[in-house]
C-alpha cells in the first residue's frame, strides 16, 4: 500500500514555546492511525499543522510533513486552501464554534461543497440528508434547516463530521470526533467512518481520549506526552501490552464497566 502522509522529525512551537518535538510518523492509504495521550500533549497541534492551521502564533520550526510528494508547511496559502477539504479533511475538536451562527447548517455545508465541486442544490440535499441519517439523525432535512445554536453539542459535532465527510477527502483528520456523543450514536459514527475507509480507501488520523473508540477503529496507535511520542505500534499490542510506564498509567485509568 502507498503512503499518503508522512511527518518527519517535526517540531512545532507557539510563540517560541515548543508544543510538539521530534515527531515522525507515516500514514498509509486506507490506514487508521489513533493518537492518544495527555491533555495538552500536542495532539491537536500535530494534526492542525498538516492543515496549515497554526496561525497566528504557531509554527512548524523543524521537519517536513509530506502529502503526495508535497511538503505541506512549505506550500503557499492558496494551494493549501485547495487541498483542505477535498484532499485533507478535518473534523474539529469543538465543532460548534467552527460554524457561522447566523446561517443555517444547510447553507453552510452547501457553500463549502460548492467551493470544490459542481453540484445542484437538489443533489446536495439528497447526499447531505442521507449522510446525516447514517450519523444517527432521523430527519436529516430538519438538521439542514436548523441554525447551529438550535442544535445540541452532540448534534453540532455530527454536523462537523458530515461537513468533512461530504467532500470525500483522501485523508481525514478527526480531532475528538465522538467526545460529545452518547454511546449508541458513537457506535453509528464509528461504523460510518469505518465504512468510508472500506468504500473509498480514506486514511484517518483519529485523535481521542476514548480508548474504546481507538480499539474499535485504529490499526496503529501513537501515545503522546509532553509534545513527544512515548510509544507507538499495532493497536492491540499497545492497548494490551504497553511497554512504556505512561501508556500503562493511561490504560489503568480507563473507566471499566461492571456488567455483573
Amino acid at each position: 500500500m502507498a503512503e499518503i502522509l508522512r511527518y518527519e522529525h517535526v517540531d512545532i512551537s507557539y510563540n517560541g514555546v515548543p508544543a510538539v518535538q521530534n515527531v515522525s510518523v507515516t500514514l498509509q492509504e486506507g490506514e487508521i492511525l489513533g493518537i492518544v495521550g495527555e491533555s495538552g500533549s500536542g495532539k491537536s497541534t500535530l494534526i492542525r499543522a498538516a492543515m496549515g492551521l497554526l496561525v497566528p502564533n504557531g509554527l512548524v520550526t523543524r521537519g517536513d510533513i509530506w502529502y503526495k510528494g508535497k511538503n505541506l508547511p512549505d506550500l503557499p496559502e492558496k494551494e493549501l486552501r485547495r487541498l483542505n477539504g477535498p484532499e485533507i479533511g478535518m473534523i474539529f475538536q469543538s465543532a460548534g464554534s467552527s460554524f457561522c451562527p447566523i446561517r443555517t447548517v444547510g447553507v453552510q455545508l452547501y457553500e463549502s461543497m460548492r467551493e470544490h465541486e459542481r453540484l445542484s442544490k437538489e443533489e446536495f440535499r439528497t447526499r447531505a440528508a442521507d449522510l446525516l441519517r447514517k450519523l444517527g439523525f432521523t430527519d436529516g432535512q430538519y438538521i439542514l434547516e436548523s441554525y447551529p445554536f438550535e442544535l445540541s453539542g452532540g448534534m453540532q459535532q455530527r454536523v462537523g463530521i458530515a461537513a468533512a465527510m461530504l467532500l470525500k477527502p483522501s485523508v481525514l483528520l478527526a480531532d475528538e470526533p465522538t467526545s460529545a456523543l452518547d454511546v449508541s450514536v458513537q457506535k453509528q459514527v464509528v461504523e460510518e467512518m469505518l465504512l468510508v475507509r472500506r468504500s473509498f480507501g480514506t486514511a484517518i488520523v483519529l485523535v481521542t481520549h476514548n480508548i474504546g473508540v481507538i480499539g474499535a477503529m485504529a490499526d496503529r496507535v501513537l501515545v503522546m506526552k509532553d509534545g513527544r511520542v512515548v510509544e507507538s505500534g499495532e493497536t492491540r499490542r499497545v492497548l494490551e501490552q504497553p511497554k512504556e510506564e505512561y501508556t500503562r498509567t493511561l490504560m489503568s485509568a480507563v473507566p471499566k464497566l461492571r456488567r455483573v
Binding site: 491533555s39 449508541s184 474504546g212
Partner: protein, 254 residues
C-alpha cells in the same frame, strides 16, 4: 429528608421561525437529595442541557416547577435570582472556553466572591485556598487560561464553582474533554469533596461515559426524546435495563 432540588413536570418548547414548535423537554420530574450524586445519561439531543439550563434559570421553563431547598424558583428574577445562583454552580465541558481569556484564573475564581461583597485581599486568600483544595498550587491564580493544560483548567473551573459554597454542583460533560488519567484525578477530587461536605453538597452529573457514571453516581436517570425513560441505581440500570433505548445504549458500549 427533604430534597434539595425538586423538578416537577418541567417542559420546554422552542418555537422556530416558520417551523413547527419543538418540545425539547417533556414533563420531566425528579428529586435530588442532599449529598446525592445523580447521573443523567441519554441520547445526544434528548434535552439534558436544556433541562439543566432551565434548572439554573439560564432558560425559562415553558411549564412546570423548580423547587430549590423548599422554595419555588421557577419564575424568580433580579435580586432573588442572584441568591439562587449562589446555591447552584456549573462546570462545563470545555474548561478553557469557560474562563475569560483576558483574565487571570485567580480573578475568574474570585469573581463571585467579589460580587458577594468580599474584600480584595480576602478574595485573594480564598482563591489561593480553593486552588489548593482542588489540587493546584496557589501560584496558578496568576496564570491565564491558555497557559495551563485542559485538566488544570478544569480543576480551576471546579475551584471557581466551589467558591461561593454551592449546595448543588452541576457538571455537564465536565470530564469528556480530558484524558483518562486527568478524568480519574478530577473524579477523585469530586469524591473527596463529597466525603468532606457530606449532605452539604449534591451533584448533578451529565455524562456520556456510562462506566464513569457507574463508578461515581448513586442514581442515574436515562433521557430519550425529552423524557426520562428509566431511573435507578447505575448497577441495576446497566445489568437489567428495562427500556428499549437503555438496552440499545448499554449494548453500544465499546
Amino acid at each position: 429528608m427533604e430534597a434539595i432540588l425538586s423538578v416537577r413536570n418541567l417542559t420546554r418548547v422552542f418555537s422556530r421561525k416558520g417551523k413547527e414548535r419543538f418540545t425539547a423537554v417533556k414533563h420531566v420530574s425528579f428529586d435530588l437529595m442532599p449529598g446525592e450524586c445523580l447521573g443523567i445519561i441519554g441520547e445526544s439531543g434528548s434535552g439534558k442541557t436544556t433541562l439543566i439550563n432551565m434548572i439554573t434559570r439560564l432558560l425559562d421553563a415553558t411549564e412546570g416547577q423548580i423547587i430549590l431547598d423548599g422554595e419555588e424558583i421557577t419564575n424568580l428574577s433580579g435580586k432573588a435570582l442572584r441568591k439562587v445562583y449562589a446555591s447552584m454552580q456549573m462546570v462545563f465541558q470545555t474548561p478553557t472556553e469557560s474562563f475569560d481569556p483576558r483574565c487571570r484564573l485567580g480573578d475568574g475564581i474570585g469573581e463571585s466572591l467579589r460580587n458577594a461583597g468580599r474584600s480584595r485581599a480576602d478574595t485573594k486568600t480564598e482563591a489561593a485556598r480553593l486552588l489548593e483544595e482542588c489540587g493546584l498550587p496557589a501560584e496558578f491564580a496568576e496564570r491565564y487560561p491558555h497557559q495551563v493544560s485542559g485538566g488544570q483548567c478544569q480543576r480551576a473551573a471546579i475551584a471557581r464553582a466551589l467558591a461561593i459554597r454551592p449546595k448543588i454542583l452541576i457538571c455537564d460533560e465536565a470530564t469528556s474533554a480530558l484524558d483518562v488519567t486527568i478524568q480519574k484525578e478530577i473524579l477523585e477530587l469530586l469524591n473527596r469533596l463529597r466525603r468532606e461536605k457530606g449532605t452539604d453538597l449534591s451533584i448533578l452529573f451529565i455524562c456520556h461515559d456510562i462506566a464513569l457514571v457507574q463508578q461515581f453516581c448513586d442514581r442515574v436517570l436515562v433521557m430519550y426524546h425529552g423524557e426520562i425513560v428509566e431511573e435507578g441505581t447505575p448497577d441495576n440500570v446497566i445489568r437489567n435495563p428495562q427500556n428499549d433505548y437503555t438496552k440499545r445504549l448499554i449494548d453500544s458500549i465499546l
